[in-house]
């Protein structure tokens, strides 16, 4: 089943919001023109009823599955998307778009501001999770898809799925919300703030104006190192690295070469090659400020919603703990929504949503079949 994959895939681009028809953001500011980078796998059926939107997590991109020409690594959720997989591309037309504010093809702070001819930097307006979803909904409209079979995502992707459920309930038949939350807890905001301060305090950040020069790679790498700690669990680190020592690079008093140290350095230095520091700031801010309940009781916003909901959490995930998923479940229950919830046994921590493929496949595959049957 898993030996099949999508082969070579390509990123496409959708342009919209040309002035004077800019996209109005939640902040009231306007942004345009906007490019959305997206990928599509499988075939849209004649009635245009088999489309699935995958929403990516904080550092993800539109390249969810298959291979880009010349790459030896597939997209970030390739194990879940493809022929015969959970999001079966023999049946479904699977879409994934880079979020607004991102740095992988969609308009973000590193894009050129048409007014100045230079990258936006901090002139880029603050964006929100709902804005990301608004941009996605424009893409869906452009593709002439009236109703999505599902919107599915983990972590920040789960927040987007939740936003679809609240803001566009009539445009989706279901939502799959994995390892996510209604809103960030102080602990989650705290980790994000450490990442942001790490970037901002790098002299190379230069008030966000560093394009074309030295980038704040040190700050961004450090931010990513903290991030990766929060994605793992005590147990998964123990299993993966233990206290093993590997001799690498230049020796100094404090370089003991613990494998976990090397891993974090590797992750940090790899990340700066593909991610923009300002995007890090804008996107983490969007996540921290998101509150699906808008200060009310979430169930009130969900009344009358016909979409079915699946919520998944992972046992060792301490970054997005089970109680946060259960808050979503509770709101759905009170609102009378047809809901399925499972807390999957896992030792991987928050990373589990990218790794516990067999369990997720079992649940999502059958859930989608039910959504299709319900018509």
């Amino acid at each position: 089943m898993k030996d099949k994959n999508l082969g070579i895939v390509e990123t496409k681009y959708f342009n919209f919001a040309e002035p004077p028809h800019e996209l109005e953001l939640e902040s009231g500011e306007k942004l345009g023109p906007i490019t959305v980078a997206y990928e599509a796998y499988g075939k849209l059926n004649k009635k245009r009823t088999n489309a699935v939107l995958i929403t990516h997590a904080f550092s993800g991109d539109a390249h969810a599955a298959g291979y880009h020409k010349g790459d030896d690594k597939p997209g970030w959720w390739d194990s879940m998307i493809g022929p015969g997989k959970a999001f079966n591309t023999d049946k479904y037309y699977v879409l994934c778009a880079n979020v607004l504010g991102g740095c992988s093809g969609t308009t973000g702070p590193s894009s050129v501001n048409p007014k100045t001819g230079k990258p936006y930097g901090l002139d880029f307006p603050l964006i929100s999770i709902n804005d990301m979803v608004k941009a996605q909904s424009k893409l869906i409209e452009h593709l002439e898809i009236e109703k999505l079979l599902t919107v599915a995502g983990g972590s920040m992707g789960g927040m987007q799925a939740l936003s679809w459920l609240i803001k566009h309930p009539d445009k989706i038949k279901s939502a799959i919300i994995v390892a996510s939350a209604i809103k960030h807890s102080p602990q989650q905001i705290a980790f994000d703030e450490v990442g942001r301060v790490s970037i901002i305090s790098d002299p190379a950040w230069n008030g966000g104006d560093y394009y074309g020069g030295k980038t704040p790679a040190n700050g961004l790498a450090l931010a990513r190192m903290v991030g990766h700690i929060t994605y793992m669990s005590d147990r998964s680190m123990m299993e993966k690295f233990g206290r093993r020592i590997r001799d690498v690079g230049e020796r100094h008093k404090f370089n003991t070469g613990f494998e976990i140290e090397n891993y974090l350095h590797y992750r940090g230095s790899n990340f700066v090659k593909r991610f923009d520091a300002n995007s890090y700031l804008y996107i983490t801010k969007a996540i921290d400020c998101y509150d699906a309940s808008e200060g009310k009781n979430l169930s009130e916003l969900l009344y009358g919603t016909k979409a079915k909901v699946m919520v998944l959490a992972f046992k060792s995930d301490w970054l997005y703990p089970k109680y946060q998923s259960k808050e979503i479940v509770k709101a759905c229950k009170v609102a009378g929504i047809d809901t399925t919830f499972c807390e999957i046994e896992s030792t991987y921590g928050h990373d589990a949503f990218l790794l516990e493929i067999d369990e997720e496949t079992q649940l999502i595959k059958h859930f989608l079949e039910k959504v299709v049957q319900a018509g």
Binding site: K308, V329, K333, C342, L363, F367, Q373
Partner: protein, 199 residues
């Protein structure tokens, strides 16, 4: 024998439920009952189950299920959220505080269906009195050391309980070894199935 009784139990519960109703099954296991109710009675079904392994089976059957504890899961619902709440063998097996759960079930559901194995079936009595051993019967086929049962109750116990709590028993079905136990159910019934509601 155990399977046969379970089958009759399934059928009886299905007969209790009205076409097109909404049903919440507490401790739904693999969702077999809800699956049948969807197929035969076109119900809006929701299960609650604590065992992760069972969740996969429920989802495979296309039944909506919540991986959570019964007591906790029930308390989150508003009053009269469902037409029926089902406790098929759950009362004796998984519920820690039956009194509290029954009261909650009667709040969340308009009607409640409860089935349990009768602990004082004549075979059980014989085993206690003659052998001096904890009984093992077709509806209670477990040894003391590996039984899922937390509470042991009889048909009479339950009827008395309903009287004390002013709960209305709308229907009751008693299953014996081969057929329904019409006579002296507390003596001959292996399983009791009750449809109850607020008085």
């Amino acid at each position: 024998m155990f399977r046969y009784i379970r089958e009759i139990e399934f059928q009886t519960i299905c007969n209790y439920v009205k076409e097109g109703a909404s049903v919440l099954d507490l401790g739904c296991g693999d969702c077999e009952l809800l699956y049948r109710l969807i197929k035969n009675k076109n119900v809006r079904a929701q299960g609650i189950e604590i065992d992760e392994k069972e969740i996969y089976k429920c989802v495979k059957k296309g039944v909506s299920v919540l991986h959570e504890d019964i007591e906790y899961g029930l308390s989150e619902y508003k009053d009269n959220s469902f037409d029926y709440i089902v406790l098929q063998q759950s009362l004796s097996e998984v519920v820690k505080q039956p009194d509290k759960v029954i009261a909650e079930a009667l709040r969340v559901g308009r009607k409640v269906i409860i089935s349990f194995s009768n602990f004082v079936h004549y075979r059980a009595r014989l085993q206690i009195f003659l052998k001096g051993k904890t009984p093992i019967t077709p509806s209670l086929p477990y040894s003391w050391y590996d039984t899922p049962n937390l509470h042991f109750l009889s048909i009479s116990d339950f009827i008395e309980y309903c009287k004390r709590r002013k709960i209305k028993i709308e229907k009751a079905t008693y299953l014996g070894t081969k057929k329904r136990a019409y006579l002296f159910p507390n003596f001959f019934a292996l399983v009791g199935i009750f449809l109850i509601s607020k008085n």
